[in-house]
Amino acid sequence: MESLLAIAIGVLGGAGVWLVLRRRTFQVIMGLTLLSYAVNLFIFSVGSLFLNKPPIVKPGLPGTLEHYTDPMPQSLVLTAIVIGFATTALFLVVLLASRGLSGTDHVDGTLGEP
């Protein structure tokens, strides 16, 4: 499961970086969104992974990450998702304003080389 998650984060991050470096604003915003998915999954994975288990220390077992999932990164992810969502929405508004003012969706607001 760890390797699956690692590959997913890597693919999302790689695709995100590639899209952010593109010249159209829509591609940039998609890239930022993918990157934030990758980051959120990464934070999530810091607290160790278990299937179908509550994040509670079991009596009799030591409270290390081998025996329970740390709930703290999950709460961090929740906050990060909310904040990322808000700022991405704001970026979308600026993107539309830029499209309206410059008449092009190039990131510099000018028509670049085709």
Partner: protein
């Protein structure tokens, strides 16, 4: 007094909410509330500074926001550095708020609430004691700054704002990655607790830890405008409105503050991986000074000069921080006060100068190189002896004061700052003295670059000043409003005050620097703060004997 530490965050938040409720229709009331709250913020910051300074060396104010002990609950920490930054925010934001009343506050909606939210984010970043809250306050500050940067709209603002927001969203992703890696290796987010646990991290995890710290640092280096990562700064800061640009000058200092705070806390001298990444700060700062200096030489527009001066001051602060020596850090803190105030004043002046140069018409997109450059020797003769307009004289003096401070020539605070910085760098660069781990050659590079940067600043300011004030040949049609004059004059007076009280301020910054470089007092104060007994326990105690 105990709750004073949380006031710099609560006050702007409540004010912003009140401003939204008051509504955009009642502008005069909104303006009064905004200025009043900003003034109150300055007074609160002053009170915090007084109480910290009066508490003797190593005095740290700790506020347990939810009454939980430090590694578990949210903690706000006010030490000398935080208090100093809060006062700086208070001063600059007050003059920006005053200036905004001259017209910019009415250029669009929600200027005042965004202004207060921005203050809340900046103050919170200076006060918070744990990394995740730092992230939250960073985002609060940035979200408000996106709105403010676009205030007034227009194509240059939107186009540079697009880059500004994209860069900051990317930086926020890096912040989260670094934060998660630090949490993964140390198991805590409290800065003091991380500092305590860092030496205990196993050697096998140390690489992961250092990588996490480095990723985290990139975020703050972007904010602090280190050289390869600062392409967004000058376009965004020059395109935005004057009071907002003055406020933004503070935001680069948030990056510097966090770097200084975390770096001294995590990697103190003598500890494990001491001064990790110090050379990046040092050489990155040097490269930033070179970049800013080249930029200063390349431009004749006052806005760009202010932007590149900001870059130069950032570079100076970064490389001075990277030296990791008490005396250099102390001088750098004084330099930061003087440079920030002067750059903010310059950002406020930009617009007035542009307006006067064009007989009251806005000139945003026209390059100065296309302006008139006529030789006025013949026509100027009748002008000799005519009374120089008061507003022009005032404006020229204000511009000159900013130039003098930023170039670091006598008699204003810039000279004191640069002199003490040079003196500290020279003594740190002497072999055998100081405790710098930085190579001695780097100290001499810093020395040389500081002198060259000062010289280039003089040339650049003189060139632009001559063009704007002497050879423009246009009569000022536009009077300067009183609030504009007062706001810029306040900042210039602060620079004079910094010069007059330089001794006391340098003593304060030196105490700040020595506190930063021996962080045990900070860690001890944060982790030993005890929650107060809650009301439930009182009830239990009273009922106990029954």
């Amino acid at each position: 007094m105990r709750h004073l530490i949380v006031a710099p965050i609560v006050l702007p938040l409540v004010t912003a909410a009140a401003l939204v409720l008051v509504g955009e229709k009642r502008r005069r009331l909104q303006s009064l509330i905004n200025i009043g709250a900003t003034l109150a913020g300055l007074l609160v910051a002053g009170a915090i500074l007084r109480s910290i300074n009066g508490g003797g060396s190593g005095s740290v104010g700790v506020y347990l926001a939810a009454n939980w002990e430090a590694p578990f609950g949210i903690v706000l920490v006010a030490d000398r550095l935080s208090a100093l930054m809060l006062v700086l925010v208070g001063v600059v934001s007050l003059s920006a708020a005053l200036y905004a009343e001259a017209g910019w506050a009415r250029a669009g909606v929600y200027f005042h609430p965004l202004f207060q939210i921005q203050l809340m984010g900046v103050n919170g970043a200076f006060l918070t004691g744990d990394l995740f809250n730092l992230f939250v306050f960073f985002e609060v500050m940035l979200a408000a700054s996106y709105g403010l940067q676009l205030h007034g709209s227009g194509r240059p603002r939107v186009s540079s704002g697009l880059h500004y927001i994209a860069v900051n969203l990317l930086a926020a992703s890096l912040f989260l990655i670094g934060l998660a890696m630090l949490y993964g290796t140390t198991g805590t987010l409290s800065m003091a607790d991380i500092a305590r646990k860092l030496p205990l991290v196993a050697a096998g995890d140390r690489g992961l830890l250092l990588a996490g710290v480095a990723i985290l640092a990139v975020t703050f280096l972007v904010k602090a405008a280190i050289w390869p990562l600062n392409g967004w700064l000058v376009p965004a800061y020059t395109a935005t409105s004057a009071p907002v640009a003055a406020l933004f000058a503070l935001m680069t200092k948030v990056g510097i503050y966090v770097l200084l705070r975390l770096w001294t806390l995590f990697f103190p001298a003598g500890g494990a991986s001491a001064h990790f990444g110090g050379s990046v700060l040092l050489y990155g700062g040097l490269a930033t000074i070179v970049f800013g200096t080249l930029g200063l030489m390349s431009t004749m527009r006052v806005g760009y000069i202010a932007g590149f001066s900001l870059v130069v001051s950032s570079g100076t602060l970064l490389s001075a921080t990277g030296m990791g020596v008490d005396s250099v850090t102390s001088a750098a803190l004084y330099y930061m006060l003087s440079a920030t105030v002067a750059v903010s004043a310059l950002f406020l002046l930009v617009e007035i100068i542009d307006r006067i140069g064009t007989d009251g018409q806005a000139r945003r997109d026209i390059d100065v190189a296309n302006g008139e450059d006529t030789n006025l020797d013949d026509e100027e003769l009748p002008l000799v002896g005519r009374a120089f307009p008061g507003s022009m004289a005032w404006l020229g003096l204000a511009f000159m004061s900013c130039a003098v401070v930023l170039a670091g020539v006598p008699p204003l605070s810039g000279f004191v700052a640069k002199l003490s910085l040079l003196k500290a760098v020279v003594s740190a660069g002497r072999p055998g003295e100081g405790s710098t781990t930085a190579p001695i050659a780097a100290a001499w590079w810093l020395l040389g670059l500081l002198l060259v940067a000062g010289f280039v600043a003089i040339v650049s300011f003189a060139r632009t000043g001559i063009r704007q004030f002497w050879s423009s040949g246009r009569r000022p049609q536009h009077r300067i409003k009183v609030v504009e004059a007062v706001s810029v004059l306040t900042l210039v007076l602060i620079c004079i005050g910094l010069t007059v009280f330089a001794d006391a301020i340098l003593r304060y910054t030196s105490a700040t620097a020595s506190g930063l470089h021996s962080p045990s007092a900070y860690i001890e104060a944060v982790l030993s703060a005890k929650p107060r007994p809650g009301p439930t326990r009182l009830v239990v105690d009273r009922d106990g004997p029954r």
